[in-house]
Symmetry: C2
Subunit: 206 residues, 2 copies
DNA sequence: CAGCATGCTGTACGTATGTATAGGCTGCTC
DNA sequence: GAGCAGCCTATACATACGTACAGCATGCTG
C-alpha cells in the first residue's frame, strides 16, 4: 500500500522524505537520497518544495494533519479512550511514525505541537486523580513515557525480535497495562482495554 | 565544573563532542564545530581521534564506562533499587545525558548496550511479579518508558518551564511514582522512594 | 647538545551537499 | 497549430565538510 506508483510525484517525494528524515535524521538525510528513493530527479524535489527546510516543513505539516485527523475521528466516534487513541498513532504508516520519532528528538515545531497537544489531552483525560504530583506534571511524564516506546522503537523491536513494533501490538499493550498504574486511568478503562486487546487478537486469528 | 580548563585537550575535545553530538545529532555535528567548542584546531581533533567515526566511538566508550561505573557503585552500596540507580543516570553531566539520548535514537552500539543492560537489570529487579505480559516484555516496555523521559527531555523541560530536567528531579520522581504501577515494584520500594524524595528535598532546602 | 617523540596548528584537497539556472516534454486552450 | 502552463531533467556552482599533510614548539632522553 505505501509507496504506490499512482501517487503524484509530489506525494511520493513527501513520503520518501518522511522515510529518509525518519531513518537518517533530518541533518543526515539528503535531497539526492530522497529523490532517489522517490524515483525522481533531485531538481524535482527543489521544484516542488523549494529548499530542504521547505521539504521538512511539508513533512511537519503532513504529520501534524495526520495526527489531528486521527484524534478528530477518535473524538467523533466518542471513544477517545487514551489507549485507543494512541493505538491509532501506532497504526500510522511506518514513515510517519519514523519521522515523528525523529522530529521529537530533533525538535521540529510540529513534533513539539504534537507533544503539547497529547499532554493537554492526557491531562483532561486523567481528570482529577489524587497523587503525589500535580495533574499537569503527571500528564507530561505519562506522555513522555508513552512516546518513549515510539522514539526507542528500534530497541524495543530488536529485543522483541520483530521487524516493527507494530508487529507486537497486543503484547506491548498488555505489558503497558502491567506497567502503568490503574489508579491514574479513569475507572473501568483498564478492563476495557484488556477486553479490546483480547478481541483484537481473536480477530487476527481468524 | 564541566568544561574546565584544567582538562587535557583530549578530554576537552571528547566533552565537546558529547555536547555537539548530543545537541546537533551525530550527522549534524561537525569536526569544526567540536573543535571550536573545545577551543582547539580542527586538526587536533583528527590527531587525537583519527576520524569523526573514531571520535564518536570514543564518546560511546566514555558513556558506556560512565554507565558501568555508576551501576557498579550502586551495586556495591547494595541499593540497586531501580530508581536510585536511574537517579544516578539522571545525575550524569548534561553532555553525557544529551549524547546518550541522541545515541539511543541514532542507534550507536553503546546506546544499544546500555538499553539491553538496563532491560536485563530491570527484568531481574522486578522478579516474578504476575501480570498480563511476560517479565521480559514488561522489562522492555518499562525501560523504554523510563528512558523516554530522557530522550524527550527537551519537551519535558519546555512544558515544565525549566532549563534542564535535572532541575525538576523530585517533581518528576513523584509524577513517575504516580504513573508507574506499584504492583510491578518489589514490596516496599515505592514507600522507600517516596521517603528518599522527601529527604532529598529537605537537604536541598538547607 | 643532538635526536626525537608529543601535542598542536595552518593549509590544502577531494568530495558531497544544497541550490540556482536553463531547457525539454506533454497536454491543454484559443 | 501556435502558444503556454505545469511537470520534470541535466548541468553547473558555491559552500561546507572530512581528511591528508607538512611543519612548528616543547620537553624529554641519550
Amino acid at each position: 500500500m505505501p509507496h504506490s506508483d499512482d501517487l503524484t510525484a509530489r506525494a511520493r517525494i513527501r513520503d520518501a522524505a518522511l522515510a529518509e528524515f525518519g531513518t537518517q535524521g533530518i541533518a543526515g538525510a539528503t535531497i539526492r537520497g530522497i529523490a532517489k528513493r522517490a524515483g525522481v530527479s533531485p531538481a524535482l524535489v527543489q521544484h516542488h518544495f523549494g529548499t530542504k527546510e521547505g521539504l521538512r516543513a511539508a513533512c511537519d505539516d503532513h504529520v501534524l494533519e495526520y495526527y489531528r485527523s486521527t484524534t478528530e475521528t477518535a473524538f467523533e466516534r466518542g471513544h477517545i479512550s487514551d489507549s485507543s487513541f494512541l493505538a491509532k498513532i501506532y497504526d500510522s504508516s511506518q514513515p510517519v511514525l519514523d519521522y515523528l520519532a525523529r522530529a521529537l528528538v530533533d525538535g521540529t515545531p510540529a513534533a513539539a505541537t504534537v507533544f503539547d497537544e497529547m499532554v493537554n489531552l492526557t491531562e483532561r483525560y486523567f481528570a482529577d486523580r489524587p497523587g503525589l504530583a500535580d495533574a499537569r506534571t503527571r500528564a507530561i511524564v505519562y506522555t513522555s513515557m508513552r512516546l518513549g516506546g515510539l522514539v526507542l522503537h528500534q530497541h524495543v523491536a530488536r529485543l522483541l525480535d520483530v521487524e516493527s513494533i507494530t508487529d507486537a501490538g497486543p503484547q506491548l499493550g498488555r505489558a503497558t497495562l502491567d506497567v502503568v498504574s490503574p489508579d491514574i486511568l479513569p475507572d473501568g478503562v483498564a478492563d476495557q482495554i484488556r477486553k479490546a486487546l483480547d478481541n483484537y487478537e481473536k480477530e487476527e486469528d481468524r
